[in-house]
Amino acid sequence: MADSMQLCNLSENNFEQCTKCSICTTVCPVAAVTTDYPGPKQAGPDGERYRMKDPAYFDKALKLCLNCKRCEVACPSGVHIADIIQRARMKATMGHRASLRDTMLANTDLLGTVANLVAPVANAALGLKPTKLVMHSVMAIDKNRTFPAYSRQKFTTWFKRHAAKAQDAYPNHVSYFHGCYVNYNFPKLGQDLVKLMNAMGYGVHLLEKEQCCGVALIANGLYKQAMRQARVNTASIRQAVGTKGHTVLTTSSSCTFNLRDEYPAMLEIENSDIRDGISLATRFIYNLVDEEKVKLIFKQDYKRRIAYHTACHMQRMGWQLYSIELLRMIPGLDLQVLEQECCGISGTYGFKKENYERSQAIGSILFKHIENARVEAVATDCETCKWQIEMSTGLPVENPISILADALDVEATRRANSAGD
């Protein structure tokens, strides 16, 4: 034991590595807009030492944290500041009952299942002024908020009817964790991925069983449910990665981050054996291109000017490079990479009445950058950023996968990638 003595300083979430340099405080989007939040340093490493002494030192203001992880990205000491804050919230609120509003917002899949059945009605109702006012006053969901529209047909329904059969014929295979957004709100993104992967010679398969990744459940304090769903997903992914040898692709940076990093950090679900098998689709595709395993051929007449917004969790994963480099391969695309700022929505945070103003204030810097970029659309890997930016700037926001699928010369790409087989 003496041999390993003091050779490293390790603590949960590395909080001891904090040198109190205060750099994290300079990037916190919440502290920048409200004095009610004590900032990441105080909420994180400083407060943690006191909470270890007596849990009663927990400060309710910690719920204002967006969990955007910008503090962690800025930290020169590798401290998982936001994880410390989230864990503290979890410890302090474990066993508390979430409000109806939070439960509803957090259960994106349940809400989606119901909404899909009555999509036109649901969309109309969620958009109606009286409904919005009821939600505002009764449910505390902000009246200014535009709800994402629900699709009539779930992605999985479409997939089973129109795509599933053809997939086995491809020489290579991947699995797809589509997430709630693709399934209930925007199946087109899933369809775009299938189109893209198929053109590259990859068959796409659904997981045996997929549940909502639970990012919203964690944010809203529904930890037990989050753990249950996480176990189901981890088991399905383990089957796809372990048994079938598939990489599990995702098209949402938040789902990806949750599946890979928050499961072990927040929910204590061991996933080290499959973590590397979960990849954002752009990362997977970029690596194939970089290793010259596939070729992408784009339409000659494609011409657009688009700004790329790095979602906070995307930056935390450090993967924006993949999406950006892939988009840069499209010859007709004039890509503006925006300075990283938080859009302010942070999943369900910005939907809540009490957070609405703060949420918009946080996003205002980004909205200004977008306005200055003079583009026709914005690209981002996160669906909640998409809602926020669309609502706040009026510009369409697209996932890089959709842009790639749109710009792709499908036939040429198919030919290029089947020649060698």
């Binding site: 390993s4 490293c8 603590s11 001891e16």
Partner: protein, 535 residues
């Protein structure tokens, strides 16, 4: 009467004397609690540690332990303690230990090792035996200050930075003391009917000045402070007392110690910790709690136990830490002079009582001692405890209640500036600093640290020391001294960091240097060389 020494014993004696209606002056050459009082574990012994080797001390401890829980609630954290047996220890000893505890009246429950691991997850999982005892942790700085505050409330006067240069002796009677005011260099003589020597290890010098000989037995102990609490219960080794066998959770940190070495009396002012001491503490410490191997050490410090050489045992361990009260009239034929020494921080109140009894006997005062029943300021009946208060106040206000108990009500908190944090690690506000400077005898940043925990966090005063120095300069109307004070404070912090300067502690030191020397140029403005270490 005059008390020499501002440690816990002197403060406790001052309080007792004042409560019994005596006119009291306490003088301290440095700051209060700079000697052994502020340089130990902060452990409120149950007495179990002494049960086998020194039953008398053990009984004293448990009795004082129960008293302090009542009268000094805001200084005490009731953690309980474990005495663990490791595979390398003799499990037989546990039985001896438990029996000895029972004899001394100390509750000692043998518990299953699995239960020990459950209630204290930091404990070495390999343990083969555990006994639960009523140990606790105590903040000696707060305890001393609370005693001084109460003494002052009852008419006593207390002076820090006043060093005894000599005693005024007339016809075999001590009639007063000659003092040097170390702040302004002036000399003053104060007369009293009795002088109590409560100067700890430095009491030998005071006695020499009176022409009497006390042979002190300086036993040095070094300790290490870790960056956060790894344990929430005191953990002891269940064996005969040895090096580094106690790990105490103190406030936001935990402390392992101690070593034990006999040192020459001439070196008792050199409290720098050596590499060898650090090595021993670490090697033994990780046996108690393995996570110490990977936990950041924020500093090292050492203190000297003021033991009186009653016999010639060379090991320094089996000597009773029993209380020694010498009436020099009886012992040496010198009237008006009493020495109170030996003992331990834990038994300061009892020592105060014994010394006060001796004083009262000389002065014909018959008032009874009430210190065991009357709560200290901050711990009055009905005073809010830290846990009730935590929900309603800001972080800084809560931390202040934890430190000052009900006295926190005296801290200004009605405006945003008073509530602003100076030390972010420890939650010290502008208001608390103002309170400390104006009401708790703070002359410099190191004093301020002892009263408030400014700069005691993991960064050891990165940004807060400058903020605090600047505020102190403002409150004390002394801008010129602020930079020197700041440099002296940083130097004092570095003294503790240097022996453990690797890993994140070295990073921390480099950043502090980059800020205060690189960015601010403090080294150009201040020369610390040749400055006496009076911290």
């Amino acid at each position: 009467m005059i008390i020499v020494g501002g440690g816990a014993t002197g403060a406790g004696t001052a309080r007792d004397c004042a409560l019994r209606g005596l006119s009291v002056l306490l003088v301290e050459r440095n700051d209060y609690s700079t000697g052994a009082t502020g340089r130990n574990h902060g452990l409120m012994h149950s007495g179990a540690r002494y049960a086998v080797t020194d039953g008398e001390s053990a009984s004293e401890c448990i009795s004082e332990n129960m008293i302090l829980r009542r009268i000094a609630r805001h200084c005490v954290e009731e953690t309980d303690g474990l005495f663990i047996t490791l595979p390398e220890d003799d499990l037989q000893y546990q039985q001896t230990f438990v029996e000895a505890c029972q004899r001394a009246g100390i509750r000692a429950d043998v518990i299953d090792p699995a239960e020990a691991r459950r209630i204290e997850p930091a404990v070495n999982p390999d343990l083969i035996g555990a006994v639960r005892v009523p140990d606790a942790s105590i903040d000696p700085f707060r305890l001393t200050v609370a005693n001084l505050l109460d003494a002052r409330l009852h008419g006593a006067e207390t002076l820090n930075y006043h060093e005894v240069e000599g005693l005024i002796i007339n016809q075999q009677r001590v009639e007063g003391v000659k003092l040097l005011n170390k702040q302004d260099g002036s000399h003053v003589e104060v007369r009293g009917r009795v002088v109590v020597n409560a100067a700890g290890i430095w009491g030998q010098r005071i006695a020499q000045q009176a022409g009497v000989n006390i042979s002190m037995f300086p036993a040095r102990g070094a300790l290490l402070i870790f960056g956060h609490r790894v344990n929430n219960m005191v953990i002891n080794r269940c064996r005969r007392p040895a090096n580094a066998d106690i790990l105490v959770p103190d406030d936001t940190v935990c402390v392992i110690g101690t070593t034990s070495d006999r040192i020459p009396i001439e070196t008792v002012d050199d409290m720098r910790v050596t590499r060898e001491e650090v090595d021993v503490l670490l090697k033994e410490g990780i046996k108690i709690a393995p996570s110490l191997a990977t936990t950041r050490i924020i500093r090292a410090y050492a203190g000297v136990r003021p033991l009186v050489a009653s016999d010639d045992d060379p090991s320094g361990r089996s000597i009773s830490r029993g209380i020694v009260c010498l009436d020099h009239a009886k012992r040496d034929g010198l009237e008006g002079f009493i020495t109170i020494t030996g003992g331990k921080m834990m038994t300061y109140r009892l020592m105060g009582e014994i010394a006060t009894n001796a004083v009262c006997a000389k002065l014909g005062n018959t008032a009874p001692c009430v210190t065991a029943n009357q709560p200290l300021p901050g711990s009055e009946e009905g005073a809010p405890s830290q846990s009730d208060m935590t929900k309603r106040y800001s972080f800084g206000q809560r931390a202040a209640i934890g430190r000052h108990g009900s006295l926190a009500a005296r801290i200004e908190k009605d405006n945003d500036i008073d509530n602003a944090l100076v030390c972010e690690c420890e939650g010290v506000t502008v208001g608390e600093i103002k309170y400390a400077v104006h009401q708790l005898h703070v002359h410099n940043l190191v004093n301020l640290r002892r009263r408030t925990r400014v700069g005691m966090g993991t960064c050891q005063g990165k940004l807060c020391s400058c903020r605090a120095a600047s505020l102190m300069g403002e409150f004390r109307h002394d801008v010129k001294g602020a930079q020197e004070d700041l440099a002296a404070f940083l130097d004092e912090r570095w003294k503790g960091m240097r022996p453990v300067a690797w890993g994140d502690t070295l990073r921390e030191a480099q950043l502090t240097a980059a800020i205060y020397e690189g960015l601010c140029g403090l080294d150009k403005a201040v020369n610390l060389q040749g400055k006496e270490d009076v911290q």
